[in-house]
Structures are given as C-alpha cells and as structure tokens.
Symmetry: C4
Subunit: 241 residues, 4 copies
Amino acid sequence: APGDRPSQAFDWFLIGLITLNIAAVVLETVPSIHDDFAAGFHVFEIVSVALFTVEYVLRIWVAPEHASFRQYGPVGSRLRYAVSFFALIDLLAILPFYLAFLLGLDLRVLRVLRLLRFLKLMRYSAAMMTMQRVVYDERRALVAALLIMLGLLIVASTGMYYAERHAQPERFGSIPAAMWWGLATLTTVGYGDIVPVTLVGKMIGGIVMLLGLGMFALPIGILATGFTQEVKRREFVVTRS
Amino acid sequence: APGDRPSQAFDWFLIGLITLNIAAVVLETVPSIHDDFAAGFHVFEIVSVALFTVEYVLRIWVAPEHASFRQYGPVGSRLRYAVSFFALIDLLAILPFYLAFLLGLDLRVLRVLRLLRFLKLMRYSAAMMTMQRVVYDERRALVAALLIMLGLLIVASTGMYYAERHAQPERFGSIPAAMWWGLATLTTVGYGDIVPVTLVGKMIGGIVMLLGLGMFALPIGILATGFTQEVKRREFVVTRS
Amino acid sequence: APGDRPSQAFDWFLIGLITLNIAAVVLETVPSIHDDFAAGFHVFEIVSVALFTVEYVLRIWVAPEHASFRQYGPVGSRLRYAVSFFALIDLLAILPFYLAFLLGLDLRVLRVLRLLRFLKLMRYSAAMMTMQRVVYDERRALVAALLIMLGLLIVASTGMYYAERHAQPERFGSIPAAMWWGLATLTTVGYGDIVPVTLVGKMIGGIVMLLGLGMFALPIGILATGFTQEVKRREFVVTRS
Amino acid sequence: APGDRPSQAFDWFLIGLITLNIAAVVLETVPSIHDDFAAGFHVFEIVSVALFTVEYVLRIWVAPEHASFRQYGPVGSRLRYAVSFFALIDLLAILPFYLAFLLGLDLRVLRVLRLLRFLKLMRYSAAMMTMQRVVYDERRALVAALLIMLGLLIVASTGMYYAERHAQPERFGSIPAAMWWGLATLTTVGYGDIVPVTLVGKMIGGIVMLLGLGMFALPIGILATGFTQEVKRREFVVTRS
C-alpha cells in the first residue's frame, strides 16, 4: 500500500539506487577512477540490474491490486500495466543489459543507454508531471518562439557573415560558421571564442544582443502564463469538488 | 478547401520547400559545399522559384472562393487578395529572381533577399501571430524599456571610459569603444574580449552587471503580462460566444 | 495646445535635438572624430544650449495655461512649474554650461553633465513613467532580492577564495578579487577572465551557476507581478469611470 | 517599544554594525589591507562581539514584554524566545568567538563563521521573509526544475564527451569534465574556457544553448506564479478583515 512506512523506505531506496547508477555512468568515464574500480563498477551494474528486475517483476505482480486496473482480471490488469508509461520506462532501464548479454553487443553503447534509468525518477515527482503538461499545453507557442529565434539567427548570421568575412575569414568564412557566433550571442551564452572586430560587425553584434534579450522574454512569458493557468485550473477543480 | 487531406499535404510540401530554400542559402556560403554542388544549387533555385510562382498564381486564382473576399466579385476579390499581407510576402519571395533576370542585377544581393522566403512560414503558425500581436500591443512599454537600457548603456560606458582609458587605451579609448563592453555586460552576454582591470573599473563593472540583471526583468515582465492579458481576452471571447 | 500639428512637430524636433546631443557627447570621445570636427562640436553645443534655453523659457512662460496651475495666478503658477520635476530636469540640462561659462570651470566635467539631457526624453514616454512606478512600488522586494544576492555573492566568493587561493594566488588572492568572479558568474555574464581550475573550485562554481539562475528569477518574478498589478489597477480605474 | 525614535536608531546602528562586520571579513583577506590594519581588525572584532553580546542579552531580557510570549511567565517566555529562529541566529553570530576563546580553536575557521552575522540582517527586511515563503511554497516545483536541469546536463555532457573526446582529450576527457562545460552553457554563463571545436560538437552545443534558454524559463515561471499568488493571498486577507 502506498504511503505507509515500508513502502516509503522502498521508494527512497530506489531513488538512491537510481542516483548511484547515474553517478556510476558519469564517473566511469574518468580514466583514473575507471582503472581503479573497473571490477567494482561491473559488480555494481549486475547488482543494479538484478534489483531493477526484481522491482519490475514485483510491480507487474501487484498490478491487479491497483484500483484503476482491478476490473480487468489478474491477466488483463498485468498486461495493461505492462504497456503503461512507467512500466515501459522500467523495462527500458533493464532491457539493454539482457539484450547485450544474449546478443553479445558492444558494451560501449550500453553505457549510454543506462542513462535512461534517469527517467525512472519521474515517478517520484508530481511537479515534474505538471511541468511536462505546461510545456505540452504551450507547445505551439514554444515552437513559434523557436521559429522566430531561428529566423533571427539566420538574419543575424547572414549579416555578420557579410560584415566580417573579409576581416576574419577563418572565423566567419560561411553562414554556418557565423551561426555558431549567432547562437552564442542570441542565447546570451557569449563564449567569446568568436567575436566581431569590424565597426559594422560590432554594430550588428550590439543589435543582436538586444534582440537576444527580447528573445529570452518570449519563452519565459509563455511558460509563466502557462504555469499561472495551470495553477488557476487546479484551484478551480478544488473549488468545485 | 482548408483542413482536408490534399490541402494539408500541400501545406507540408510548401513548409518543406521553404525550409530547404533557407538551408540552401545558408549552406551555399560554405566554400567546400558551394564548389561541389554549384550546379545543383542553381537548378534547385530555379525549380523553387517556379513552384513558388505556381503557388502564388494559384492563391490569386482561388481568392474569390474565400468567404471574406466573395462579395467583391472575381476581379475585385483577386486584387484585394493581391495587396494583402501574405500575398505581398509571397510576391517578395519570387520578385527579386525575376527582377535580377530582367535587369541583369548582381546575384550576390539576390542571395540575401532569398531569406525573405522565411516570412512565408508565418502563414502556418497561429501562435506566431499571437506573439506578434503581444509585441505590438506592448510596443510602447518595450520602446520605453529600450530607452532605459540605452540610458544605462551610455552612463555605464561613459563611467567605464573615464575609469579605464589610461589603463587600457587601446580597448577603452572612446565611449563608443566602451559601449561594446557595456552592451556585452548589460545583456549578460559577456564575451570577455574586453574587461575592466582597474579597481574603479571593476566596481563600475559589478554595478553594471547587477543593473543588467534588472534590465532582463523589464522586457520579460512586460511580455509575460502581455501574454497573460492576451490569454484572458481569448478566454473572455470563448465564454461569451 | 498639446496634440495639434505644430505642437507635435515641436516635440519631434526636441527629441531629435536631445538624441543628437547624446550622440555628440559619445562621438566626441573618439580621437579621430574629435580632431576633425572639434569646431563643429563646439558650435553644435552652443546652438543646442541656446535652443534648450528658449524651450525652458517658453515652457515657464506658458505655465499659467496648464489646467493644473491656472488657479495660482501668473506668478504663482510659473514658480510652481519651475520647481516641478520636468522643469528641474530642463534646468539641469542647461545650467552646467552657464555655470562653467561664468565660473570658468573645467570643460571635462561639463561633458559628462551633458548626459543629463537624456532625462529630458522621459517627458515623451508615458510607459517609462509606468515602469518607474512599478520599480518604486516593488522597491522593498527589489532591495530584499539585492540583499539575498549580496549574501550569496559573499558566501560564494569566500568559498572560492579558500578553494582556489593556492592554485591561482594572482587571481583568487583575496575575497574582493574572488567577488569579481562571483558577480560575473551569479549574473551569468561569465567573462571567463577568471575561472576556477581545481576540482573543489569547479564544484563550487557549478553550484553558484545554478544559484545564479535562481537569482535571475527573483527580480523578474517581482517585476512581472508588479506589471500585472499595475495593469489590473488601470483596468479597474477604467471600469469604474 | 518598536517604531519609536530610539528603537529605530538602535536598529539602524545594528544594521550598520553588521554591514561593517561583513566588510571587515571580506577586506581582511586583502594582503595589503590586512598587513596595515591587523590590530584594527582585531579590536573591531572584539568590540563587535561585545556589542552583539549586549544586543543578545537585552533581547532575551525584554522577551517577556512581547505580546506573543507574555503568557509564559518571566522564565518561560525568555526560554521560548531563546530557541526562536532569530535568537538562535543572534547566538550563532557570537558563539564561535567564545568557543574559540575557551577551546583555543584555529582563528581561520572562525573567520568564515563570522559571515553568519549576515543572517542577522533578515530581521530587518519583511520582503525577504515573503521571498523565503514563496521559495518554500514552490519548493517541489523548484526541485523538479533542478531535476530536469540535471537530466539535461547529464545528457548534454555525455553527448559532448563522445563528440569531442578525440579532438580535445585534455578538455573533454571524461563526462565530469564535460559537465563543467555543460553547466556553463545551460546556465548561459559561457566562460569560454572550454568550447567545442568539432562540427558534431558545435551542433550539440547549439541545441544545448537553446535548451538552456528554455531552462531559464522554468524557475522564472514558477517563481513569478508564486509571487502573484502570494500577492493575491495577501489582498484576500486585506479584503476579509
């Protein structure tokens, strides 16, 4: 049953295990750490897969006890749970290991797929679901903001290409090269590895910076409005019930 | 008729064609790509203009069938459509090619004008129109924010010019030179190609950074409020009808 | 009378004159421009002050015709106007010139004071007044956000000082030196002239970057809420009357 | 009594003293300043601790006069006040000095703990409390935003590691090394000390920049909504009473 003591301990144990798995994938790439603990990482991976498999089987097993599945009988409820969003994520977290074991696949690809275990964390954050819904509800506006951004990027990069290509041919030698500068400037990241040096280039650069400021405002305005509406909707539901 | 199967396929075909056109303009400037596919780019340009011309003629042709133009008769409705916003954009997308062909103009200028085809994408995103309306409704506030920004920029650059001109005369040798630093800092782009080195310069720089943070807030606050109002207005309309 | 044809032309002429004045102050510092047009800048300054003086005298002169001053009589209304916000700004825009002329002051200081003419533009943007009111209404929240920011800055800089002072003594040799890095990071400007190199320093740096992201949210959230309330208040007034 | 003349002067004196204490901790680390004023800093520290001790004892002493503690009697009210949030902060501000004096601890650690005195400023800003409440109310959403950010960071860094590890083995030699780049890019700080150089790396970098833009929007949207609700709640309370 959800909410009681052992169930909560089980949840926290799994959150810890997932976190350790992600940390292992990340740390394994550090040469010095990999050389010292290669065997340890291997054992940890096998133990993790075993535990995630037990978790997966248990969740399939208890599926008929869920209120929303009860009506479908012992087999139907388990099948219905098995094709649900979270069950598929749980399967994706362990399947690559077994496939690699059976088919003798390269372990290098496997390592990246282990990062999919991060998705298992979604089960434990209701707020993450709310955010996902806000992003989904506002997807048209976000795509439009992205389009405006791309339009600006192309215009800015084309202008900068014509302004700087003679002064810095190795840095602004083509529009795609200028787009690297354009993205870094419009998003206000500003690495500074490529900067305009001509007067016209700096004037274009200044305008692009100001437009970048405005471009920040678009997705933020969209999402802030989305959050406000989501909150209002929830309050409306509460008031009604 | 809009919304049916062939009409949607037609829309998607045009969106793809426009995207390929933009990609061609961008990629053509990469020397290695241009040298290998010069003929291909030329053929693609001619085919594109032909297709856009067919699209333009067809749209003029079917104009009398639009509900909003029907009352003006076969000639009047077509003329009225021809001077509408989207028809002018469609004309702008193909006119430079024909003008260059007839007048024997330089093809270099033509290339940049081809980017105007990007505007044809606006027809397919209703959200982009909403954003445009929000920006238009809040134009006074945005201009005021720009004015405040320019005021800050001039004060910051003047201060930095007096603080750094002896320490770094080749970088902060005039107020316009200091304005390049000022814009990069106030917009939080921060290239790092020009940074203050004196104590007074760093103190001014620190204050400018904090003000830059506040300046981000102005357009965002304006546009977020604009979006919220736009949404409310639309809901109001829905509730009424 | 405001709103009629000549009055609008007068306004636009003044906006243009103020803009040219600011441009003159900025461009005068470019050595090559200053050397070529020194006499021109001098004549332009004198003509500008003459025109601004005429504007000031005229505005004082017509003060009794303003609805809000009419009741105070010809002298009282002019005195009351003379101590109003905009009249003082108009005075500040010309006073330094006359003082320098009378007292024989250094012209260098005068140049900076000429930037005060920028404030004359405030008269022409109602939205700028709205923004000022929003910032004023939210001043307590903005000061609190600044305090939180300063607290974070001091903690981050102290941590970075202890992490990096042995690895980079010439860059992180004291907490004030580390604060230059801290400000550039917390405001996401990120010049890159000073960056941590030790493992502990990079970990502290990563946390500071994430906190900087959150710190952006504070003033934006405050001002966005302020704008929303200002708009609501205005609508309330409109609905009532 | 709060609000009267001497009480306000007492508050401003303490705010000044706290500010000077923070400034002393920061400036003491500058070698040239420390060498010149070592004795002065020592005296100032002793005087400050003495004054803060007097403040602490006085506040404990007058605790029974507070309306909310009156019912507990002279001893009970003082004990209850002593374990309140602000009393504990006041204790933390002086305790390290006495412990170091009694136990003969290292003065280096003491210096950092002196920064805790900054927290004493919280007593004087009601807006800071509001912000704290907003952050607390939205903690679930902020944690979820942090989780999404970490997920993006790990995916971005893993991708960049595979794209750049052969081209720049000394900069992108492991996923943790790539995470330093990833954080600087996702938060739009963009130091520029580590940037991708391969084509695939730059394409991944461009996508990460755009996602970074979106990530800014999440905490801002959350906090802006939080502020709006807090303001509404306060207005509701005002309307009711």
